[in-house]
Each structure stands twice: as structure tokens, then as C-alpha cells.
């Protein structure tokens, strides 16, 4: 009778090493994966210019001429400006001619990427604040909480008209 009772007991499984195994898996994942999320400024380039295409004429009054020289000096319509002033100039121009203005961007080959990026950031920032304002007025919600269709309407209301020149060739970017 005693013997039978002993047999019915299930021997305990030794699970001490499971912790070690899962630790090894954990360390493997820590080493091979990275945590950095890719953040950035999403832009759309213009399609390559077609041969013998006539450049579109735009009214000079509605063009904001932004340029960066070799010493990272930012100029707007020939005057040296700060990023804040550039943002204000772009905002003012968009308010004057919402759908017909052009922000023309030019950068010297020796300009640093950071200066160029900051300039792009400032211009996009100007559009963002305008769109944010419009969205608050018409939908009563911030831009990031709008639905896809509503966003498209707001984006069409304030189109980004940025023209970039890559080596003297002119190309427009939306």
C-alpha cells in the first residue's frame, strides 16, 4: 500500500535553468535590436524636369526668395534674417496670396546640412501653424486630431508651394 502511494506522486520537473535560457534570449534581443525611432521631416520632391519644359512664370510680387550662402547666412528677399523672421515672412506671404505664392529656396553647395534643415523646418513650421489655425477655426480641433479627408481639405486650403533649385535646375516641391 505504501509502495503504491509513492508511485502516484509525479516527480517535480527541475525548471531552474529556464530562467537562464530566457535570460539568454533577452540578452540576444537587447544586442540585436535598436530602440531609436525614425523621426523626421517628410517632404515630397518634384518629379524630374522634362526636357525643353518651359519654366512657369510666377508673379515676382508673390515670391519669397530664400537663400543660404556658404557661411550659413540665411537671407530672405536679399535681407539677412533669423529663422523666426523667415517664418513670419512666409506666414505673411501665404496670407497675402494663399494659392499663388511661391517660396523659392536656394542653397549654396558649401552650406551645411543643419542650416538647410533648420530653414526647411522653419518654412514647414509656418505652414503648420497656419493649418493648425484653420483647423481650430473650422473644425474646433487641433490638426493632428482631424480625419484623413479633413486633413486633405486643410492641406488643399493652405498648399505648400516650395520651389527648390538643385544645381541651377528649377524644380517645384509640394
Amino acid at each position: 500500500m505504501f509502495c503504491k502511494r509513492y508511485r502516484q506522486q509525479i516527480p517535480e520537473l527541475n525548471t531552474t535553468s529556464t530562467a537562464d535560457i530566457s535570460f539568454m534570449l533577452l540578452i540576444f534581443f537587447l544586442v540585436t535590436s535598436s530602440m531609436d525611432t525614425d523621426k523626421g521631416l517628410l517632404r515630397q520632391l518634384a518629379p524630374p524636369p522634362i526636357e525643353h519644359q518651359q519654366p512657369q512664370d510666377v508673379n515676382k510680387d508673390f515670391v519669397v526668395q530664400v537663400a543660404l550662402d556658404a557661411n550659413d547666412q540665411l537671407t530672405c528677399d536679399g535681407k539677412a534674417v533669423t529663422l523666426q523672421e523667415l517664418q513670419e515672412a512666409v506666414t505673411a506671404m501665404v496670407q497675402v496670396n494663399r494659392t499663388g505664392h511661391v517660396v523659392s529656396v536656394e542653397a549654396d553647395r558649401a552650406t551645411t546640412y543643419e542650416a538647410y534643415f533648420r530653414m526647411q523646418d522653419a518654412i514647414v513650421g509656418a505652414y503648420h501653424s497656419l493649418r493648425e489655425h484653420y483647423s481650430q477655426q473650422h473644425y474646433g480641433r487641433p490638426y493632428h486630431r482631424l480625419s484623413g479627408d479633413e486633413r486633405a481639405i486643410v492641406n488643399d486650403y493652405y498648399p505648400q508651394r516650395i520651389s527648390e533649385s538643385l544645381h541651377s535646375q528649377k524644380g517645384g516641391a509640394r
Binding site: L26, T37, R43, Y113
Partner: protein, 163 residues
């Protein structure tokens, strides 16, 4: 002299009770799953040194499969035919895992596009990670190469400045 019973009691106390570690693997598995979810596999080894600029209007790039990474940074070329020369740092372009010249980019992009499904090829986004001191000449060469290969969606990679 102590009674017999308490003597037995003392001897029993000498045994150290074993620690129950049954839940330890569960705990570690939880940590493991957390890491598996919040991280993603490192796709390619970055061979150039770079530091991305910072901006205030940056947005998170959605992690869909059609992303091409282009890195522009400094690389160190220390050896030329075994001779010891001082380390020269030069601006280098790296596309996904390999170092390329801007002229090679259109061919690489069309090769990558060929492997993708049509709808993914349309959504192809180039994540441009350039060093903040990189000259615009090189960056615009790369951009022009991308323009020619119809890879028009560009993400200027940057870190966020908190207002």
C-alpha cells in the same frame, strides 16, 4: 537539560528553505516580450559617423516595409595598400548596407523597387540621415539622384526639440 522535543525542533531549523523560483522565467519572459515589442531589428550596420540635426516640426516615420535608408556622414579610410597614413575623414554616402557614390543611387533604387510589390514601390520612402555638418552640395547630389529615380518621398531624419 532540554526536553527531547525541542532538540528535534532545532535540528530542523538548520535546513535552509529552498527559494521558489518557478515564477522567475515568467518574469524574464515578460521583460523579453516588452523588448521584442518596443524595439525593432537593426537593419544595417552604419559605416559612417553622423549626427542628425534637430528640428521642431518632425514627425514619426511609419514603419512600413518600403523604406530605404541613406546615410551621409564621415568615414575613416586609414589604409591605402597597407601604408600607414593619417586618418582621412571624407564625406561618404551609404545606401542601406553599402557605401555608394551618388551616381550609383538610381540603379540601386530601381533594383530595390523591382523587388517590391507595385503598391509598396509607390509608397517607397527614403529616409535621409545626413550629418549636420555635411555640405549641401553632396546632399543635393543625392537628392537629384533620387529625383531621377522617381523616389520622391523623402524623410529628412532629425531629432525632436521639445518646445
Amino acid at each position: 537539560m532540554r526536553p527531547m522535543r525541542s532538540m528535534f525542533h532545532d535540528r530542523r531549523r538548520h535546513d535552509v528553505p529552498s527559494l521558489n523560483v518557478a515564477s522567475m522565467p515568467d518574469l524574464i519572459f515578460t521583460v523579453l516580450f516588452f523588448f521584442m515589442i518596443v524595439t525593432h531589428m537593426r537593419s544595417d550596420e552604419v559605416k559612417v559617423r553622423l549626427e542628425v540635426p534637430a528640428g521642431s516640426e518632425v514627425k514619426k516615420l511609419m514603419g512600413h516595409p518600403a523604406i530605404v535608408n541613406i546615410y551621409i556622414g564621415r568615414s575613416e579610410r586609414s589604409e591605402v595598400r597597407g601604408e600607414r597614413i593619417p586618418k582621412v575623414q571624407e564625406w561618404t554616402v551609404q545606401l542601406n548596407g553599402e557605401i555608394v557614390t551618388p551616381a550609383e543611387i538610381p540603379a540601386r533604387i530601381s533594383e530595390i523597387k523591382g523587388k517590391l510589390s507595385p503598391e509598396n514601390a509607390e509608397r517607397l520612402t527614403v529616409s535621409l540621415r545626413a550629418d549636420r555638418r555635411a555640405p549641401m552640395g553632396l546632399v543635393s547630389d543625392v537628392k537629384q539622384a533620387l529625383q531621377q529615380s522617381y523616389a520622391l518621398k523623402i524623410n529628412y531624419s532629425a531629432t525632436e526639440i521639445n518646445p
